[in-house]
Every structure is written in C-alpha cells, then in structure tokens.
Symmetry: C2
Subunit: 298 residues, 2 copies
C-alpha cells in the first residue's frame, strides 16, 4: 500500500481542502474536476481489450467520477502517450471508443499526444454544478438510508472469466464496457435538498462504504441479501467476495433520507465501520481485505 | 512525425471546434483547460533534473499554456504514475516543486496516483476567463505588431550544456526551471479590446510563428536582430538556430495593434509563412526544420 504513503505525503505538503473526494468541487467556477491515469499492463491489457474498449472504459471511468459528485458530466481532455510502434488504427479505434462513451452529453475538448514506452492514458473530466447539489463522502448522516444504483460483482466476475480464458461469459461485457450511472446521479443531485454522500464503486462496494464510514464518522449497516447481483456469479465459490470487494462496477451508492423507489441496502447508524449481518468490519479491516483481494489478482 | 498523423485522425473523428489551440476555451463555464503528458526519458531525464525540478517544470509548462490563452491560471490536477521502486522522498520533492511553480496564485485540487514502469506525469490546468479577453492563433490581423515577452534560445542552450556534461552554465537554469509569463499575459488579456493571437514558444519561436501564420492566413515578417537572447549563446556555432528553433523557453508572443512598451520583433503582413531578413519560409519548411532540429537531439 505504497500509494497510501504517497497520498499522506501529498496531503501534508498541499494542506488543501480539495483533496479527499474523487472530484474536486471548485465552487468559484461552478465545476467539479477529476483526473485518472490508466497504464498499460496495470489498468488494462491489450490482450483482453480492443483499442475501442480501452477508449470507452477510459472515458467512462472519469465520467463515473463526475456522476459520483452529482455534477453533470460535460467535457473531457485526453492525454495519450503511445509507444513508437503504435499504428494510426489504434488511435482511431481508441477515440471512437471515447466518443461512444461520451455519447451526446460529453464533449472531448483537448488533450495531448506524446511518445512513451507503454501506453499511458490520462483523462480529465469536467462537470457542471449548475442546478445540482454536490455530494461529499463526509455527508452521511445517522438515519439516512443507503441506496444503490445496480448490481455488484459482475465486473470482477468478468475479469475472473478473462483470466481463466473463458471469453464467452456475459460478465465480461460488464468488465470491459462499464456504464456510468448518469441518470441515477442526475435524479438525486437535481432534486435532493439535504446534504448527502455519494460515491461510485470503482474500487469495490466495501471500499466505497468504508470511505463514507470513515469520512462521515458513522456506522453503515448493510443487509447483504439486498445487494443486487447477477445470479451467474454464483458459479464462483468466492462470489460473495466478488460482490463486496470486486471493483470496477461503476455503480453508485448514496445516503438519503427519502429512498423513493431506489434499492435500499442498509442504513446509516451511530458508530464506525461497516456492519454486514452480525459482523462489524473496521475500516482498517476492510482496507486489508481489499488489499488481499487485489493481491490475489496479481 | 507520426504524432501529426494521429492528430489528423483524431480531428476527423471528433470534428470539434475546440481542437487547435493549446487550451480549450469553454465559454459556457468561463474557463480554459489544458492538459500535457510528460514521460520519463522522453520529456525529462532523472539524471538531469531533480524531483523538485521535474515537479516545478511540469506545473510551469501547463501554467504557461493557460497564460498563452490570456486566462488567469487558477487550478491544477496532477495524474502521477510511478515505478514500484519510487520512494516517498521523490513524491515529496516532486510536489514541493509543483507547489513552488504554483506560487500563491494556482492551487492543486486533485489528481491520481498509480503504478507504472516509467514515470508518467499528466497535468491539467484550469484558467478563469473572468475579465480576460481570450486569444486564438486564428486571430492575427494584417497591420498588427508582433511582440515578445523575453529572450529565446536559453533553454535549448541549457540542454546543449547538460548533454555536453557542463553543469555550470547559467543557461541550464532556463532549461530546468522555466517561468511562465503570467504578468505579460495578464497585462495584455485584461486591457486589450481587439481580437489578438498569443502563443507560448514551448515548441520553439519559429513553431509559434508558423502556427499563427497558418491558422490566421497571414505572413509574419520578423526582424531577427530584434529578438532578445542571452549573449552567452553566441559560444554555440548554431546559436541562431537555437534562438529560432530551440524550444521550452515558455515565453509568449502576441499580435497587437498597440505594442505599448513591449519588444516588437515584427509585423503581420499579407501573404503566408514567416519572413526573416530576405528569406520567406513556408510553414511546411518550418515544420521540416523543427523536425530536423529535434532529430539532432535524439
């Protein structure tokens, strides 16, 4: 967990109110901004994904960060560094994938293209906060319900299939072509009056729950049976772990007083950590579990 | 010049009004945005520059892009990918360098940190267009004077010294620790009434002149003797080439009707290309010269 030490060092040097959520909320300009680096053989493999899929997912990951803030995703810039032997078809397909993920709502407005040894993609997404109430992982309040936008574990299941060489499972689509939850985000952020927490589950459902618990100083009590998942996952012995700790589903969770018709998976309580069934996990335990879950994949 | 083919392909797919200038000007949000990737052993070498200097220059390069647009540099996000063996001191020094370049005016509000094989830095800069008139390289008009913010060739001279193993030259400072021309940008963009072109000379003075000539459909007539440069450069046989084609000085050039007290190096005329003395260079010739100049450095 070296990245954790790096982040601590950075926080100390910057001493900034902005570092914490996935997006920085710049009130003065009415925008949120988020940037992610995606590196070949660390975040994606050319053996598993087509250039189109790499472009699509790169954009979606960043659009999802904006959705998690509650802002409206509007613009992307794309820094792309490529090995010398890259052909123009790769660039074309990559950009077609980006454009597909952007759909009609998000526009690519700039970026940079350079050489490198391995592919390095860095995408910055900008969202508009106009008519939206912006979330923070610090905002969960006792009594709020925990709602969820969709199923979990599918992306991790898809990765298991790819690693096992099984290319026919429908779970693979969830891993390679995830969809940011724009509508869920919009419905909540454009109608809610109270402060609320919202996060995407890019690093796993338990990670998102743990971050909100830690930053808000509350206990999140979860009913595992309420978490939606694809029944195909049950073929894996560790399917419950895939649902809880598998990342990259890019669904959203939020804490709200009025859950309307959304799927409620739990409630915000006094205390700390995440309670599932009769067991309460501390945020440190969850971090260790996440670490071990990902270590298995290396 | 493979990057040129890539950019052509991207322009065709995106069909966007935004791609062209270094910054994208998003009127709706009152911002400009710019992103640059900097890759180890392509854009910088750890042998030549300290982590502090790498951080400093990475921020300055992007702040300079914002200055070129005429906007006020305000915020940065930083995507940083690092090899496994990187120590926390590198990250600390890198961030101290970033912070030094940001000074009091620019705030680092977010980013990402991941693993990679070689260091990959991607920085996004955001500027506010409030009370500023934004430039475009399409805006040069016949009769405008061409003004320049400072000396050229120092950074390229500094790189020559580093490559020759001479670490004592004061030119090296210009290469490792360039300064974005914030004041020049502010004075022009906050007072000018007419449309104007402005660019930084990150890829060399001739590149900037060539881009403005091409995009505005005009001839730029330059008096070489008016271009400021450090006399120390004269020790290099090719010093005139360093002044015209050497990159990374991060000075600004602009086309304005009233040059006030600024250094005037030429005038916008009817025609095309860049005229120096009695010779007119087409934009294609300049591109070839730039390519050959940089090829020598590989």
């Amino acid at each position: 967990m070296k990245e954790k030490d790096f982040i601590l060092a950075i926080k100390k040097i910057l001493n900034s109110k902005y570092i914490g959520d996935d997006c920085a909320y710049i009130e003065e300009l009415g925008i949120v901004i988020s940037q992610d680096n995606l590196i070949e053989d660390i975040h994606f493999k050319k053996d598993f994904a087509t250039p189109f899929q790499i472009g699509y997912k790169s954009a979606m990951v960043n659009i999802s960060d904006i959705c998690a803030s509650g802002a409206e995703p509007k613009y992307l810039t794309v820094g792309l560094s490529l090995p010398k032997d890259t052909d123009v078809e790769f660039v074309e397909e990559f950009y077609k994938g980006l454009k597909e993920a952007c759909d009609k709502d998000v526009e690519i407005v700039g970026g940079d293209i350079t050489g490198s040894e391995k592919i390095c993609i860095s995408i910055t997404a900008i969202g508009s906060t106009k008519n939206r109430k912006i979330s923070s992982r610090k905002n969960a309040k006792i009594g709020q319900k925990i709602i969820i936008s969709g199923p979990h574990g599918s992306s991790a299941g898809g990765l298991e299939e790819l690693l096992a060489g099984n290319r026919k499972s429908k779970l693979i689509e969830s891993h390679l072509m995830p969809k940011a939850q724009k509508e869920f985000s919009k419905e909540i952020a454009s109608t809610i009056k109270e402060d609320y927490a919202m996060m995407d589950t890019s690093d796993g459902l338990m990670d998102a729950l743990s971050q909100i618990s830690k930053e808000s100083g509350v206990l999140l009590e979860i009913d595992f049976d309420k978490i939606p998942y694809d029944k195909e996952l049950e073929k894996f012995d560790n399917y419950k772990s895939l649902i809880l700790y598998g990342g990259e589903d890019y669904q959203l969770i939020a804490t709200v007083t009025d859950p309307k018709n959304y799927t409620v998976i739990g409630e915000v309580k006094e205390g700390s950590g995440v309670k599932i069934g009769s067991k309460t996990y501390t945020t440190d335990e969850i971090e260790n579990n996440l670490f071990n879950h990902f270590k298995e994949k290396k």
